[in-house]
Symmetry: C2
Subunit: 349 residues, 2 copies
C-alpha cells in the first residue's frame, strides 16, 4: 500500500514527463508568425505555465487503450486500435489550446488581473488583442486537431466533440454569470454549471483518444463519464482549496470566492443550512479582507458541514469516475488515470 504522499509524487512525475513533451509540441503547432503580436498574445498564457492536466489525461487514456507501457511509444506516431498511426500529440495540444482560449476570454469577462502568476492577456496586451488571441486559439484548436491524420469518420466525430465541448463551456460560463445574480442555487444546478464550464473539457480529453483510435461506443461513453466525474471533482476541490490553502501558496487571496460572493458547492450547501453567506465577510474588496475574517467564515462553513459536504461529493465523483475505467485494459496507464483522479482531490493546491 503506497502512502498518499508517495502516490501524489508518482502522479506529479507522470504529469511532469508528459508536460515536457506537450510544452515542446506547443511552439511546433502554434509558431509565432505574422502578425507576430497576435501570435505572441495567443501563446502568452500557454508559455506562462500550466500543469497540462487535460493533455495528460488524453495521452494516458490513449496509452491505456492501446495497452502500451506508458511513455514508451512516440505520441506523434501513436498506434490506433486498427493499426494505422495517428499524431496523438496534436489532439493533446488541441485541448490545451481550447483551455487557453477560455482562460483568456474568462479573464476579460471577470476582469481578472493575474493568471499563472503573470498579467492576464488583456492586461499585458489590450482588450482587442486579448479577444482576438482567444478567437485565434479557438480556430487553431480545430486546425491542430485536423492534423492528427485520423480516419475521416473518426475525425468528424472528434471535431464534433470539440465543437459541442466549446458550446457547453460557453453555456456553463453564461450560467455562472446568471448565478452571481441569484441566491437560491441548489447543488444540482451548481453541479450542472460546473459540468458545462469545467468538466466537459476533461470529458473531451478522456474520450477523444478513444474516438481517434477507433474504440467502441461503450468505451467512448465510459471515458466521457470518467472525465465529467473527475472534472467536477476538480472544480469542487478548487473551491475547497480557495478557503483552506494559505494565500501565499494559493497565489491569490485565500477566501477570494467568499469576498467576491461567487457561488460554490460550499456556499450553496451552507445557504441551504441557514448560513447567511452574504454576511460571512463584510468587505467586497479582496485587498481589504483580513485573515481573521476568512478564518471566522471558514469556521462557520465547517460548523455547517459544508466543507465536509464538498469533500464527500468530490470523493464520490472520483470513485465513480474510477469505476468507469473498468472498460479499459488493466494496465499501468489505467492505474495512472485512477491515481490522477485521486490526485485531483488530494492535491494541496
Amino acid at each position: 500500500m503506497t502512502t498518499p504522499k508517495a502516490r501524489e509524487e508518482a502522479v506529479l512525475e507522470a504529469v511532469r514527463e508528459r508536460r515536457e513533451l506537450v510544452n515542446d509540441a506547443i511552439p511546433e503547432e502554434l509558431p509565432i508568425q505574422r502578425p507576430e503580436r497576435l501570435y505572441e498574445a495567443s501563446r502568452y498564457l500557454l508559455d506562462a505555465g500550466g500543469k497540462r492536466l487535460r493533455p495528460t489525461v488524453l495521452l494516458a487514456t490513449a496509452e491505456a487503450l492501446a495497452d502500451v507501457e506508458p511513455l514508451t511509444t512516440d505520441y506523434r506516431t501513436f498506434p490506433t486500435l486498427t493499426g494505422e498511426p495517428i499524431d496523438l500529440m496534436d489532439a493533446a495540444v488541441s485541448v490545451e489550446v481550447i483551455q487557453s482560449f477560455t482562460l483568456i476570454h474568462d479573464d476579460i469577462m471577470d476582469d481578472d488581473d493575474l493568471r499563472r502568476g503573470v498579467p492576464a492577456v488583456h492586461r499585458e496586451y489590450d482588450l482587442e488583442t486579448a479577444i482576438l488571441a482567444g478567437d485565434t486559439l479557438y480556430s487553431k484548436a480545430f486546425e491542430i486537431m485536423l492534423e492528427t491524420g485520423a480516419d475521416p469518420s473518426r475525425m468528424v466525430d472528434a471535431l464534433d466533440v470539440l465543437a459541442t465541448t466549446c458550446t457547453k463551456i460557453c453555456e456553463g460560463q453564461a450560467l455562472d454569470v446568471t448565478f452571481e445574480e441569484r441566491d437560491a442555487i441548489v447543488p444540482e444546478e451548481y453541479l450542472e454549471m460546473v459540468e458545462q464550464k469545467t468538466a466537459v473539457l476533461y470529458a473531451a480529453s478522456a474520450c477523444l483518444p478513444a474516438i481517434l483510435q477507433g474504440a467502441d461506443q461503450e468505451t467512448i461513453d465510459a471515458l466521457y463519464g470518467y472525465g465529467l466525474d473527475i472534472g467536477r471533482a476538480f472544480q469542487i476541490q478548487d473551491d475547497v482549496l480557495d478557503l483552506t490553502v494559505p494565500s501565499d501558496k494559493l497565489g491569490k487571496q485565500r477566501g477570494s470566492d467568499l469576498v467576491e460572493e461567487k457561488q460554490t458547492l460550499i456556499t450553496v450547501h451552507a445557504r441551504d443550512q441557514g448560513v447567511a453567506i452574504e454576511d460571512l465577510v463584510d468587505t467586497e474588496d479582496v485587498d481589504a479582507v483580513t485573515e481573521a475574517e476568512i478564518d471566522d467564515a471558514v469556521a462557520e462553513l465547517e460548523a455547517a458541514g459544508s466543507i465536509d459536504y464538498a469533500n464527500t461529493t468530490a470523493r464520490d465523483l472520483v470513485d465513480q469516475g474510477k469505476r468507469r475505467l473498468e472498460v479499459l485494459p488493466n494496465n499501468e496507464a489505467r492505474e495512472l488515470l485512477c491515481q490522477l483522479a485521486d490526485y485531483l482531490i488530494e492535491r494541496g493546491y
Copy 2:
C-alpha cells in the same frame, strides 16, 4: 442587353428569395435554449437583418455546380455530384453564423455602438455576454456545418476550410489594428489585410459547396479565387461608399472612415500621391464633422485620382472573379454569380 438597374433588381430579387429561406433556417439551427440570455444575445444581430450575401453565394454556387435551375431544388436535400443528398442550408447558415460572430467581436474591439440599425451586442447586453455570444456562435458554426451529412472526407475538408478561414479573419483583423498605428501602408498590404479580414469568408462560401458536393480540386480552387476577388472588391466598394453616399442612406456619418483615420485603399493611394490624409478632416469626432468638410476632402481625393483608382481596382477584381467561374457549367446560377459580382461594386449602399 439589360440595364444596370434591371440587373441590380434581378440580383436583389435572387438575394431576397434566398435570404428568406436562410432567415427561416436560422432559428431552426440556432434555437433559443437554456441559458436563454446567451442564445438571445447570440441571435440578436442575426435577427436584426443582414443581406445574407455569403449564404447567397454559397447556395447559388451549389446550384451552378449541380446544374439545376435556381430555387427549384430543396436546399435541405440537395444533390451532390455523386448523387447522395446533403443539407446545404446547414452550410449556408454556418457561414452566416461565422460572419455574425466576427461582427459581435469586431464591434467590441472597435467600441462601435450601432450595427444594422440596432445597438451592438455589447451595448444591448454587456461585454461579458457579447464575448460569450460570439464564442457560442463560433462553435455552433462548426456544429451546424457538421449536420450537412456530407461524406466524412469531404466534411473534414469543409471543416478545415472553416477553421483556416476563421484564423485568417483574426489575422486580418489584427493586421488592420496594426495599420491604424502606421502611416506608410502600400496598396498590396491593404489588399492582403482585406483579403484576410473580409474576402476569405466569401472565398469559403464559394468553395464550400464544391467541397461538400465532391467537385474536383481545380473547381474548388477556382471558386475560392472567385470569392477572394469579389470579397476584396466588396470591401473596396464599401470604402468608396463611405465617402460618396449621403449619411441618411448610409445609416452612419458619411466620411466616418476619414474622421476615424481608418486606412482604406483610397487613403493609401492618396497618401502615395502626396495628399496629407491626416489634414483632410480636422476633427476626430464623427459627431462634429460637417458635410462641407467631407465634400472638400472627397474633392481632394478625387483630384488625386484615388477614388477612380479604388473603383478601377474593384472592377478589375470583379472581372477576374467572373472569369474564374468558367469552371462552372454555363447555366442560370452561374449567370447569377456573375451578376452578384457586378452588384457588389455597382450597389449604391
